[in-house]
Structures are given as C-alpha cells and as structure tokens.
C-alpha cells in the first residue's frame, strides 16, 4: 500500500495518534493476532456478548426501577393488581413492564441474556475442561474463569430478587435460611444482610447496589483480565496438520476474525432479542407481590441455581442439637445442600489443574489441546461431575417432573437420593470405557486405514474390502495424541527404591494415582491396540489366508 492513496484527514489523524500513543506499532502487532477456526472456540463469546447486552439493557432498567421496599398501593395499568399493597420495587417493575415504552422487551431481554450469560460460561468451561486447555500456562486464567462463574451465580441471585415478586421472594427466603443456618455467625449475618428481622426494609436496596455496582464491576474487571491473559498467552488449538506448541493456526484478528466476532455479536444480540420478543420470561405480574406468608407450587430458581434447589429437596431432615435444648442447633438439612454440592463443584473446578499437575508431574507448557478421548480419566471425571450436577439439577424440578410424567413425588426424591451417589460412578465407568473404545478406533484407523467401500475379489475367490490411508488432516489430528504423562518411577513395573517424593503414605498414593491416571492405554501405532497383533488386511488390503475381513 502506498501512502499516497490515503486521504489526508485519515493520514493526518492516524499519524497524530501514532506519534503520541505509539498506536501504529501496537496495532501492527495485535491486528495480526491469529485466532483458531474451530467453532467451539466461540462458545465463550456467547457469555461475553450476553454480558454486553446485560450492561445495555440493565442500564435502561435502572432508569425506571425503584430499589425500595417502601409500601405503596398499585394504581398502574395492570387491572388484576390495582389497589393492592406492594413494595415500590415491585410496583416499578410492573410499571416497566406495562407503562414504559419498550420496558417489557428490555426486561425480557435482560433476563434471557442473563440465562445465556451463565449457560455460555458453562459450555465454554466444559470445552476448556474436556480439552485440557486449562493446563500450564493457563491455570490462572482458569481460576479467573471459576471466579467469574461464581460471581455470575451471585449476580443472578441478587438480580432475580430485585423485582420483589412472589417467586423471587421464595428464593430470598431460602437465601435467608442458608445464611441463618451457618454455625455461630448465621444470626449476625442475617441481621446484617436484611437489616433486622426477615424480610426487613433494606435487602432490596442492598441487593441493588450489589447487583448494579459491585458485582458487575468485579465481573468487568475479571472479564478484562481473562481477555488480556488469553490475548497474551495466545489461543490453544486442536491437534492437526502443522499445529505445534509453538504456533497458532487460524485466521488473523484483522480482518477475518474481527468480522467473525462482529457477526457473532450480532447473532447473540439477535437470539436474545428474538427470545425477548417471542418468549415470555419471569412474568412477575402473574406471580403477585411478595408476602412472606405466601408460596406457590412449582417455585423454582433460575436454572443456574437449580442444582442447589435440587440438593435442598433431596436432603433428609437431619438436625443436630448441640448441648441440649439451650445450645445451638446445627440444621444439617440446610447446611449440607447449600454448601456441599457447591463446594464440591467449585472447589473441584479450581483445584483440578493443580491436582492433575501434581499427579502427572507434567510441568510442560501446553498449547495444543487434548482430544477428550485421549485423557480418559479426565473425561470420565468431568462426565461424572456433570452427572452429579445433572441429577441435582433435575431434582430441583422434581415437582414439575412428577406432575408432567405422572410419577409419585416421593419416589422422585427416593430415586434421586440413590442416583446422586450411584449415577456419577456409572457415568465414570461408562465414559472411561467409551474413551478407550474411541482410542481403539483411532488406532485401528492409523493401523489399517479407513474402509474405502471398494470390494476386491482376489484370484483365489476371497473378497476383501480395500482400506486406504486416512486423509492427511485427519491422520494429523489423530497423531496429535500424546500419552498422559506419569511421574518418573510411578509405574508398577519400576524396580528399586522409589524417588524421594514418592515415599511415605502420601507419596505412595501419589505414585499409584499417577500410574492409574497417566500412561498410554491404547498405543496408536500398535496394530489394533487390543492385543491381537497385526492383521493382514492392512492399508492396502492384501489378503491371502483364511482370516475373515472383520472390519
């Protein structure tokens, strides 16, 4: 490009900026940054763009929402509630829904965007987990992600409490129940949060500050950190032709990826707008104003809180009375479901990269990700955790399930209590076996090629199907497999004194776990990988003896 073609106003402005900000250099470096082409790398952007929609619609809502629990009599245009006493928060939400132009659309888009925000984060996290993209050097970014997910749950909880309708009140009541059940500090925390006895006068305005100021502020900061780290550390990529730990194969940011990202933002915005237009969400006017005495059948939280609701519904009514009647009560029936599943899942997520590094002793940097099948234990653990979460999630809606499927409500609880322990184990075993099976299939393709569909008749009459080598890119994708590392000296076959780190009870456990977790289960280049050696109808399909072609 010759500078002569650039019009003066643009050339002048850009060199003005360049001279003062050094922008040219920065742009030259970053506009050519390469983004991988795989579709699953866009999943995180659902969350990012939903967040932008949340900020925009949320700002609109703050213009009209009154975060006050002051008692008012509704005189707005929704007839079935006229003359009813309610909080100013609820009345202003009704006003947004029925009297503010475009208000209902904004409310609905805000709510749909919130659901997609969390859902987008979840699928993005699953992608990162199952491909092992959280490994060194990306552990810190993974931790930021776990923090973002936790904050998003809090943001959702404070947000859906704000309209002060009967449904969100049920959620608020459970929040209070959890807070007050905490040992020692519960009562103080509750009185601090609610400014006195439940429901008090303060909680809506406090949640409002948290919801529109503090939590979004932290979210924004963490999202920026997440993006910057991603930018600096570059993208991971799927194994494939020409892809190594030292490069990234894909399209440059400008112009290709910028167009894609821009288009994807429009898609996200469009889907949210479509949902907001055509699907009614959180119809608070049907729920009515909150009164602590009322509760509806089929009260559920938004989906991301569903697993906590399910845990609460599954829990038997255990309670411990310490030091007799005058002592303290430890309401395990609330404490355990509120803290344990959340603790298992969030702590498990945060610890996993470090635990895996400890077990495998793998300190290398990874920029090429694993295919899920190639680390069967990780995949099995992930599916097992998803099953645990899924059972709780499902049971959070057990009344709707029993209602729709005509089964006894009690039985959904009994079955759920068993499934929450048994289903993850079954899922683990099944997933592990499926992963090994898929590895065997890969080994078979590498060893014998793919079926060509060409049947060939040999001179002595036998028919065989000709196998051809797999396409180059597919073979490269498969050959990207790397054995899961183990600690040196951890194998069963190792003789002699184990290294220092592997002595003692913890060391021995570590060695055992390392040997089980790591290692090559099904070698790619070893025939079938299932032990019956080299077959005869390999890549070229040369037959000859009496073995039938079983592939």
């Amino acid at each position: 490009m010759s500078t002569g073609t650039v019009p003066k106003p643009i050339a002048g402005t850009s060199s003005f900026l360049d001279d003062r900000l050094g922008a040219g250099n920065f742009m030259r470096r970053n506009l050519r940054k390469v983004f991988p082409d795989h579709w699953s790398f866009l999943l995180g952007e659902i969350a990012l763009y939903s967040f932008i929609v949340l900020l925009l619609t949320g700002t609109f809502l703050t213009f009209f929402f009154k975060p006050s629990m002051e008692h008012v009599i509704y005189e707005g245009s929704y007839a079935p509630l006229q003359g009813i006493g309610m909080s100013a928060a609820y009345a202003s939400t009704l006003e947004i829904s029925f009297d503010v132009r475009g208000g209902l659309l904004m409310r609905q888009m805000h709510h749909w965007a919130a659901l997609l925000f969390v859902a987008g984060m979840m699928v993005h996290m699953l992608r990162v987990f199952f491909t092992g993209a959280y490994r060194k050097p990306r552990e810190l970014n993974w931790l930021i992600g776990v923090g973002l997910l936790t904050l998003a749950l809090l943001e959702g909880l404070t947000g859906y409490s704000l309209p002060d309708d009967l449904l969100s009140g049920a959620g608020l009541r459970i929040t209070e129940g959890v807070a007050i059940s905490l040992p020692l500090v519960g009562t103080w925390i509750t009185f601090f949060l609610f400014g006195g006895e439940y429901p008090g006068e303060d909680v809506i305005s406090r949640f409002y500050s948290l919801h529109i100021l503090l939590i979004p502020g932290i979210l924004l900061g963490l999202i920026s950190a997440h993006m910057i780290l991603m930018w600096v550390q570059k993208h991971t990529q799927m194994p494939g032709k020409g892809r190594t730990n030292k490069n990234v194969v894909g399209a440059p940011f400008y112009p290709a990826f910028m167009a894609k990202a821009g288009a994807y933002f429009m898609f996200t915005f469009g889907v949210i707008a479509l949902l907001g237009t055509f699907a009614q969400i959180n119809p608070i006017w049907l729920f009515g104003p909150y009164t602590p005495a009322d509760i509806s059948a089929g009260s559920q939280p938004d989906f991301y809180m569903g697993f906590l609701e399910g845990a609460l519904r599954l829990m038997p009514s255990w309670e411990v009375n310490l030091f007799g009647q005058g002592g303290g009560t430890l309401p395990l029936s609330v404490l355990i479901p509120a803290l344990v599943p959340m603790g298992i899942i969030m702590t498990g997520l945060a610890v996993y990269p470090f635990a895996e590094r400890w077990i495998t002793g793998d300190n290398r940097e990874h920029h090429v990700v694993d295919r899920p099948r190639n680390n069967p234990h990780r995949t099995a653990i992930g599916i097992s955790a998803m099953t645990f979460y899924g059972v709780l999630w499902l049971l959070g809606a057990n009344d709707e399930l029993s209602w729709v499927l005509h089964v006894s409500l009690n039985w959904t609880t009994y079955v759920g209590r068993v499934l929450v322990f048994v289903a993850p184990v079954i899922a683990y075993v099944v997933t592990y076996r499926i992963c090994l099976g898929l590895q065997r299939k890969d080994a078979a393709i590498i060893g014998h090629g793919v079926e060509s569909g060409v049947i060939k008749r040999l001179p002595h009459g036998e028919y065989i199907e000709v196998h051809v080598p797999p396409a180059q890119d597919i073979e490269a994708h498969m050959r990207g497999k790397e054995a899961v590392p183990t600690l040196p000296g951890a194998g069963n076959g190792s003789d002699g004194v184990p290294p220092k780190a592997l002595r003692g009870p913890i060391g021995r456990l570590r060695a055992k776990m390392s040997a089980a977790y790591g290692g090559e289960k099904i070698p790619l280049d070893d025939g079938h990988g299932d032990g019956h050696g080299h077959d005869d109808h390999a890549a070229v399909g040369a037959g000859g003896d009496d073995k039938p072609a079983v592939h």
Binding site: G83, L115, L116, L166, D302, L409
Partner: protein, 270 residues
C-alpha cells in the same frame, strides 16, 4: 385363485386386514358391552320425584363403592351422608365420579354418558336428602363478572397457589396425589370445590372465606386464565423450569449453530 393370491400380497392388503379386524373388534365390543345407556335415558326422561329417581341412579352407578344406602364400603368408597349436593355436582359434572379405576386420586375426565343436568340434579337431591350438607351455589354466587379481581388475587395467592400454582396450572402433591389445573373447571365447580374440599383439598367454608370473597377469587382465576400473555409465548406458565429449558435448547442451540456456520467458511487465500 391367482387373482386372490395377488390381492393378498398387495402392499395395502395388510392395512385392509388390520382395519377390518379393528372394526370387527369394536363392533363386537359395542354389542357385548353393558348397554346401561338406554335404561339411564329412560330414567332421566321420567318426570318422577327427584329424590326417588336419584336413589335409582345412585343404586345403579354409585352403590358398588359407596354402599346401597351411601353408608360407604370399606377400602372402596367413603360414606356420602352429609357431603351435600355441591359435592355430587362437583364430582359428577367434572367426570371424576363415577370412578373408572381407583388410584391415588380421581382424575377429571369426560363425564359418563348418562350424566346431564337432570340426572345430576336428581342424584344431588337424593344425597342432600340423606344428611344435608353444602348446596349447589346459585348462578349469581359464581358470576365472575361481579367479583373484584384484585381482592380475589390476594386471597388466591394466600390460599390456593401453594398447591395450584400462581396461575392455576396445578402441581404435584405427595404420593402421586396432585392439585389439578384450574383451567378446565367451570366457575360453579371452583366454588363447589372450595366448599366441599374434594380429595386432597381442604374445605374453605363460608366462615373462612365469605361467599363474596369466593366470587372475587373466581373472578381472578377466570381473569388470569383468559388473559393474553403480553411477553410472548407463555412457556406453560410454570416459571423458570421451562425458561431454563428454552435458554439451553433454543438459545444455545441457535448460537452453537451460528458458531459452526461462521467458522465453517474458511478464508479464501488471496
């Protein structure tokens, strides 16, 4: 012979045989099934005393479970002395009684063929004559247009929604019991349910909720179920469960498809 064999192998032959067999089965069943209909119709058309006619109806259709004198049969049906005409009208006009097969709860269904205004009146008169009880409300008592929706809504939220849900969609109760949806119930049936407390439902007598308040509640229930949803598709009006499903199935699927579509086109080499 050849033509018959060919016909037998015609692709449509199996359907024809199936239809024939089904038709035959249905025809035989109609002939063999007990034909109480005609007898019932004869009773209904007679202009005899309501109580006497009601007793006949009762003996024919109800007594096997409730006893010949409505005293009840252990493990089969409760005694009906004192349940009142309102109870009979509610149970029979909503098709819950006569019960076809016992379960956790009698479901609403198409009323039996002999049920009409006259037979229900006669049956109700007979039961009322046994020991009194709540009577069928007047048309004015259940006129939704005369009620106050807003007041009714408050009462509805305080007394009904914990089982019937915010909008009367119904919900599950313990051990296979359930609170039925209020959508198909007529105004009169809603009122009768409140004063008689059928099945798992408690009784809301006139000292707890006055007849005017009941009318307000009916006004709210009818108003809500006829109300259009301003926000789009109602998603079953059961709250966040279906909303979450839609977010995942519709929202995320659309966005995943979009992601696949966007990344599927590789950049053309310049």
């Amino acid at each position: 012979m050849n033509r018959i064999t060919a016909g037998r192998r015609h692709p449509l032959a199996r359907y024809a045989v199936l239809l024939l067999a089904l038709g035959l089965l249905g025809f035989t069943y109609t002939l063999a099934a007990p034909t109480s209909e005609r007898a019932d119709a004869a009773i209904a058309s007679g202009k005899a005393d309501d109580v006497a006619e009601g007793k006949k109806l009762f003996e024919q259709s109800c007594s096997s479970c409730h006893g010949l004198n409505a005293e009840g049969v252990e493990d089969r049906g409760p005694g009906l002395v004192g349940v009142g005409a309102a109870s009979v009208d509610f149970q029979v006009s909503s098709g819950r009684m006569p019960l076809s097969n016992p379960g956790a709860q009698a479901p609403r269904k198409q009323p039996a063929p002999w049920v009409n205004d006259d037979t229900v009146r006669q049956l109700a008169a007979y039961i009322q004559s046994l020991g009194g009880g709540p009577t069928i409300p007047t048309a004015e008592q259940v006129d939704a247009s005369k009620g106050d929706k807003a007041k009714g809504g408050e009462l509805f939220r305080a007394n009904c929604i914990q089982c019937h849900n915010f909008t009367g969609e119904g919900g599950a109760l313990t051990q296979g019991k359930y609170a039925p949806p209020l959508y198909p119930a007529s105004e009169r049936q809603i009122y009768e349910a409140m004063i008689t407390g059928p099945q798992a439902m408690p009784v809301f007598n006139d000292s707890i909720i006055t007849p005017e308040q009941k009318r307000d509640m009916i006004a709210y229930i009818v108003g809500v179920r006829e109300q259009k949803d301003p926000g789009g598709a109602d998603l079953g009006r059961i709250g966040p469960v279906t909303e979450g499903l839609v977010a995942w199935i519709v929202g995320l699927s659309l966005l995943s498809l979009a992601a696949i579509w966007i990344t599927a086109k590789r950049r053309q080499a310049q």
